[in-house]
Assembly symmetry: C2
Homo-oligomer: 145 residues x 2
């Protein structure tokens, strides 16, 4: 099986509230969205917001809670982490952890979206971003050379 | 803020067990992995497996449970969904839902990894994959033309 992800679905209790939050980040709800699902085009895949009740019915399991999965957006420098954190909080995110220096040399902040889904904003000097902002592990870059 | 995800972290109770599951899918634990974190290079970002206790300490919130976020891998046809589902179950995944025809014309199966994280394997004729297996919403493809 290829190591890839095509679409990430976040279970939500209030689809309108969740949609407005991501729209306030400047992301555009795609034309494919429907009354019970909102789609957003990401750089290399798709993000979907979908009611937790529908998700639970589809899966056949309970889907309460959030936080056991985090979605990270990495940046070229610390200032961009500060800006992203401020922008998210301004858009209505819950501040979980203000930008701080990690033990591994990074600079990280955490916020939760209105549904509790955790986003990490990170500058990691050991994992530099490519020009197109794609994260490729250094060992993979070396093996491709 | 750009609409993109650089890295997806899955909280795990048993890092060794979780790592072995993804290795059985044929994914390679990257050289950057450390005793308390396993990295896997995905097509356009990075997947990390990280103990839930560490994640909770980093975030300052409880991170029990899973299922409220699903990660989907889309395929060009139904047969590939069947194969992925069989491969995952063979690798030790819990079968949540055998491949079935959805109400929206798709063909979908759900499994949970050993930590409860849900993967969807899907063929969606309305959201065709590009040649490089990247999922781009049709409305975005049209607007780029």
């Amino acid at each position: 099986m290829d190591a890839r992800i095509s679409l990430i679905t976040l279970g939500v209790d209030d689809l309108g509230r969740a949609t407005r939050f991501y729209e306030r980040l400047g992301w555009q709800r795609a034309a494919e969205s429907q009354p019970e699902v909102a789609f957003f085009q990401l750089a290399h895949q798709v993000l979907a917001l979908y009611p937790r009740a529908n998700l639970a019915a589809d899966l056949g399991i309970a889907v309460a809670g959030a936080g056991s999965v985090t979605l990270a957006q990495n940046f070229h420098d610390r200032e961009a982490v500060d800006r992203a954190y401020a922008e998210a909080v301004s858009a209505g995110a819950k501040a979980l952890r203000t930008p701080y220096e990690t033990g591994w040399g990074g600079y990280v902040a955490y916020i939760a979206d209105p549904e509790g889904h955790v986003w990490e904003f990170a500058h990691n000097p050991a994992f530099p971003l490519g020009d197109n902002a794609t994260l490729t592990l250094p060992s993979m870059t070396r093996s491709a050379e």
